[in-house]
C-alpha cells in the first residue's frame, strides 16, 4: 500500500503557511514556482530520471511547509534536496556535480530557465561579450558543499526522516490501460493521451497550490487522465468512471481545474519575476528582500503588510551568524 499513499499536508500546516508566513502569499508562490523550475532544470542537467527529480519537487514542497522559506537561500535548498533524493535513489550524484550544475543555472539569463513556450528562444551566446562566470573557485565549492550537508540534515530533520514519495505517473499509465486508451492510435507522438497525462502530472509539480501535498496519487492520476482525454477529444465513459479509481467527483473537479490553471499561473509568475527585476538566474533572498523593501515603501503607511525593521534586522543577523558558523 506504500506505493499508493503519500503523507499529506494537514489543513493546519497549509493555514499556518498562508496566514502567518513572513512573506506575502504571491511572493511565496513566485519563490515556490521558480525554485521548482530550478529543481527540474537541475535534474535534467544532472541526467536524473524524472522519477527522482519529481520526488525532489515533492520533498521540497513538504520541507517548506515545515520550515520557513527565507531561512536559507532557495537555490541551496533545492540543491540539497535534490542531492538527498538522488542519494537515496539508484542514481546518486556527487556534491561536485550538483555544485557545477547549480552554479551554471543560477548564472544563466532568467529567460533560459523560465522561458514561456510561446516566447522566442533566447538569443545564442555572443562570443564577443564576456561570458558570465559559471565556474566556482575551490573555496566557494567547499562553502557550497558545507551548506549542502547542513541543509541535507536540516531537511531530513524537518521531514522526520520520512523521504517516502509515491508518484502518480505509473498509476496514470495503468488507468489509461484500464480505460483502454492506450495502444489505439499507435503513433500519437507528443500529443498522445499518455504523453499529455504525464505532462499534466509533471506540470502539477510546479503548482503553488501544492497539489501533490493535498491529494493522493490515485486522484492526481485520474485528474491527469481526465484532462488529457478532454484535450485530445477522446470520449470518456458515460458513467462516473473515476469512482472505479476511488476518486470523488468533487476532488476530481478541484484537481482538474488546479492542473489546468498552472499554465496561467506560470505566466503570471514569470511576469512577477521580471517585475522584481530578476535578470540573471534564480530569484534570491536578496531579490525578495529588495522587493519587500519596495513594497514596504508603498504600504509602509498602514504598517499592516510591512515588516518590522527591527525584527528584520535581528533575523538577518541570525542568518549571518548561522552562515558563518556553517562555514567554519
Amino acid at each position: 500500500m506504500a506505493h499508493m499513499a503519500n503523507p499529506l499536508a494537514t489543513p493546519d500546516q497549509l493555514f499556518q503557511r498562508r496566514s502567518y508566513g513572513s512573506l506575502p502569499i504571491e511572493l511565496q508562490d513566485t519563490i515556490f514556482f521558480a525554485t521548482q523550475c530550478l529543481t527540474q532544470a537541475a535534474g535534467l542537467l544532472l541526467q536524473l530520471p524524472q522519477s527522482v527529480t519529481a520526488q525532489a519537487n515533492v520533498l521540497l514542497a513538504r520541507y517548506w511547509l515545515v520550515e520557513s522559506m527565507m531561512s536559507h537561500e532557495f537555490s541551496d535548498t533545492s540543491a540539497a534536496i535534490l542531492y538527498l533524493t538522488a542519494k537515496l535513489s539508484p542514481h546518486p550524484r556527487s556534491p561536485r556535480d550538483i555544485c557545477n550544475v547549480y552554479s551554471y543555472l543560477v548564472t544563466r539569463p532568467t529567460t533560459a530557465l523560465f522561458h514561456s513556450p510561446t516566447a522566442p528562444p533566447p538569443p545564442p551566446h555572443d562570443p564577443a561579450s564576456p561570458s558570465p562566470p559559471y565556474y566556482r573557485s575551490e573555496s566557494a565549492y567547499q562553502a557550497f558543499h558545507t551548506r549542502l550537508l547542513t541543509l541535507e540534515a536540516r531537511a531530513l530533520h524537518a521531514l522526520a526522516f520520512d523521504t517516502h514519495v509515491a508518484l502518480p505517473h505509473a498509476l496514470a499509465v495503468t488507468y489509461l490501460q484500464a480505460l483502454d486508451f492506450l495502444g489505439r492510435g499507435a503513433k500519437d507522438g507528443p500529443n498522445g493521451l499518455g504523453a499529455r497525462a504525464v505532462a499534466y502530472l509533471n506540470t502539477a509539480l510546479l503548482s503553488p497550490q501544492m497539489l501533490y501535498l493535498t491529494s493522493q496519487p490515485n486522484a492526481l492520476a485520474v485528474a491527469a487522465v481526465y484532462n488529457a482525454a478532454r484535450d485530445v477529444g477522446a470520449k470518456m465513459p458515460e458513467c462516473e468512471w473515476w469512482e472505479v479509481f476511488d476518486v470523488e467527483r468533487e476532488e476530481l473537479g478541484f484537481l482538474v481545474v488546479g492542473m489546468r490553471s498552472v499554465e496561467g499561473w506560470g505566466a503570471v509568475m514569470r511576469e512577477d519575476l521580471r517585475g522584481m527585476g530578476v535578470e540573471r538566474g534564480m530569484v534570491t533572498r536578496g531579490d525578495v528582500e529588495a522587493e519587500l523593501g519596495r513594497r514596504g515603501l508603498v504600504v509602509g503607511g498602514n504598517g499592516s503588510n510591512g515588516v518590522d525593521p527591527e525584527e528584520e534586522m535581528a533575523r538577518r543577523m541570525d542568518e549571518k551568524m548561522a552562515e558563518m558558523e556553517a562555514d567554519v
Partner: protein, 474 residues
C-alpha cells in the same frame, strides 16, 4: 481530433443503432402520451388539459436538461431494485492514508534505561518514553562528521526501508528522533524501535538444551514469512544472522538491523558483493557475483536453520577462502551440472576443485544428511534446498513456507506456548559478539587468486554417518 484518437467509449455504428432505437421508443411513448392527453382533453375541461400539458413538459423529454449530473446506469438499476436502501447511494471509495509530515522530535522525550549492545553500526540502548512509559530500543546511528558525503546512506536506507515495512515479523520503527543540538548538522540521530527482550544468538549461546523440533519450526516459519514479506516488497536484507533476529517473551520472532538492506528491482541491479556476515554469506557472493537476488537471503536462512538445530553457527570460516572451503565440504563441490555457469563468476575462474571422485567417494554430494542425523527427511530436504550452491535452485521464501516440513508432525509450536528465557537485554549485562561483523562499505573485496580446494575432503571418512533416532522429538 476525436476521429484520430479512437476511444473505446467513442460512438460507432452499434451505438448509433442503439441510439436510434431508443429515440424511436421515446418518440412512440410521447405520441401515446400526447394521444392520452388529447383524450383527457376531450373528456374534461380545458383547465385540466393545461395541467396535463404542464405535466408533460415536466417529463423533460424535449426541454433543456434540468441538471447536468449524470448517474451511472448501474446505480440507477440498483436504485430501481432497492429503492428503500439509501446506503446504495454513496459509493464505497477506498481512502488512502499516508499520514502527515512534521519535524522529528527530540531524544529528550525518552529516558535512557541501559545499554544493550554496541555494534559496528552504532549502539543500542533500552529507553522509556517519558509521556507514555512505553519501553523502546534506541539505536543511535554512527555518523562520521568528517564524511563529506553527508549522512551515511546505509543509515538513511535503513530508515527508509523500515518506515515502509509493516509486518509482524519485521521490527517496527516507531519514529526517528534527533539529539537536542539541532542548529548544526546532527551528530545524534536515533531510531526508536520496538523493544524485544532477546536476540536469538544469545538464547542459543545460553540454552542448555537445543530447541525442540516443533520450536525450530515455529522460528523458521516466522523467519520465512518475514523474509517473504521483504522480498515481496523488493527488499533484500543482506545481513540475516541469528544476532539480527529478535525474539520477545511471547514467542514472536522479528527481523532487525536493516543496515545492509536495500531496495532492488527487476532485472537485478549491480550490487556490491561485500554484504552479509561471512558465516552466512552465500557462495555466489564469495565467488564475486555482482548481480544477485533474494537467494542470498535464503542461503542465510539455511545457515540459521542449521544453527537452530546445533546451537552453533553452521559454517564458521576464518576468511573468505576458508568459508568457501567449508561450504564445499558441507554441500559438495559445484559442477557444471549442479551449478551451470558458476565458472563465469569473477572469483571462480582460477578455482582448483578436487576431482569429482576423491578417495573413492563422490565429492559433489551433500553432507547435510550426515551432519544432521536427527533431522527428518523433509527437514533435510528443506535444508538441502536452502543450501543449494546454485542460487537459481534455492527455494524462495514463499516456496519454503509451503514446504511439507512445516506440515509434518511435530507441528510448529504455538507462539504462545513458546518457552521464555531470562532477558539479557533487560538486564545490565551487555551482549558480547563473537560472530564477525557484516562487511563495511567501501572495504576491498577479497581476491582469491588461484586457490586450491583439492584437499578439503581428505578427512571425510572419519565423520559420523547418518542414521540414529531420537526419542525427544516433540
Amino acid at each position: 481530433m476525436s476521429s484520430k484518437t479512437k476511444s473505446r467509449w467513442a460512438d460507432d455504428e452499434a451505438d448509433a443503432a442503439l441510439e436510434a432505437q431508443l429515440k424511436k421508443e421515446k418518440e412512440e411513448k410521447r405520441r401515446l402520451k400526447v394521444a392520452k392527453a388529447r383524450k383527457l382533453e376531450a373528456a374534461k375541461q380545458a383547465r385540466e388539459a393545461s395541467a396535463a400539458a404542464a405535466q408533460q413538459e415536466g417529463d423533460g423529454t424535449n426541454g433543456p436538461p434540468a441538471k447536468r449530473r449524470r448517474i451511472s446506469p448501474a446505480r440507477e438499476a440498483a436504485q430501481a431494485t432497492a429503492p428503500s436502501n439509501e446506503s446504495n447511494d454513496a459509493p464505497k471509495l477506498w481512502r488512502f492514508y499516508g499520514g502527515a509530515f512534521a519535524k522529528s522530535r527530540s531524544v529528550e522525550n525518552y529516558d535512557k534505561l541501559n545499554d544493550i549492545e554496541e555494534g559496528a553500526y552504532g549502539w543500542v540502548s533500552r529507553a522509556k518514553e517519558v509521556a507514555t512509559g512505553k519501553v523502546v530500543a534506541l539505536k543511535k546511528l554512527k555518523i562520521d562528521p568528517r564524511d563529506r558525503g553527508g549522512l551515511p546512506i546505509t543509515g538513511l536506507r535503513e530508515i527508509q526501508i523500515l518506515k515502509d515495512c509493516d509486518h509482524r515479523n519485521v521490527v517496527q520503527l516507531r519514529e526517528v528522533v534527533v539529539g537536542d543540538d539541532t542548529s548544526k548538522s546532527f551528530s545524534n540521530i536515533f531510531l526508536v524501535l520496538e523493544f524485544l527482550e532477546h536476540d536469538l544468538k544469545s538464547i542459543l549461546e545460553d540454552m542448555p538444551e537445543p530447541f525442540l523440533a516443533s520450536e525450530v519450526k515455529t522460528l523458521l516459519k516466522q523467519l520465512a514469512s518475514g523474509v517473504a514479506y521483504l522480498h515481496d516488497n523488493w527488499i533484500l536484507h543482506r545481513d540475516l544472522k541469528t544476532s539480527n533476529l529478535l525474539l520477545n517473551n511471547r514467542g514472536q520472532l522479528k527481523i532487525a538491523d536493516f543496515g545492509m538492506a536495500r531496495y532492488v528491482g527487476d532485472p537485478a541491479p549491480k550490487l556490491t558483493q561485500l554484504v552479509v556476515t561471512l558465516w552466512y554469506r552465500a557462495p555466489e557472493l564469495l565467488l564475486g557475483a555482482v548481480r544477485y537476488g533474494g537467494a542470498v537471503d535464503m542461503w542465510s536462512v539455511g545457515c540459521i536453520f542449521g544453527e537452530l538445530l546445533t546451537r552453533e553457527p553452521l559454517l564458521q570460516g576464518r576468511n573468505e577462502v576458508d568459508e568457501l572451503a567449508k561450504i564445499f565440504e558441507l554441500c559438495g563441490t559445484p559442477t557444471d551440472d549442479t551449478w551451470p555457469g558458476f565458472r563465469r563468476l569473477p572469483n571462480a575462474r582460477a578455482l582448483r576443485l578436487p576431482s569429482t571422485m576423491a578417495n573413492g567417494r563422490a565429492t559433489t554430494g551433500s553432507g547435510v544428511r550426515a551432519k544432521f542425523p536427527l533431522l527428518t527427511a523433509a527437514g533435510v530436504g528443506l535444508l538441502n534446498g536452502l543450501l543449494t550452491l546454485d542460487p537459481k535452485k534455492r527455494p524462495t521464501a514463499k516456496e519454503m513456507l509451503a514446504h511439507e516440513y512445516f506440515a509434518q508432525d511435530p507441528k510448529p509450536k504455538q507462539e504462545a506456548m513458546f518457552p521464555t528465557f531470562p532477558s539479557k537485554a533487560g538486564q545490565e549485562r551487555r551482549r558480547r559478539r563473537e560472530t564477525p561483523n557484516a562487511p563495511v562499505r567501501g572495504q576491498q573485496a577479497a581476491d582469491f587468486g588461484a586457490v586450491d580446494f583439492s584437499g578439503i575432503f581428505s578427512g571425510r571418512e572419519r565423520e559420523e554417518r547418518g542414521g540414529g533416532f531420537s526419542l525427544r522429538m516433540v
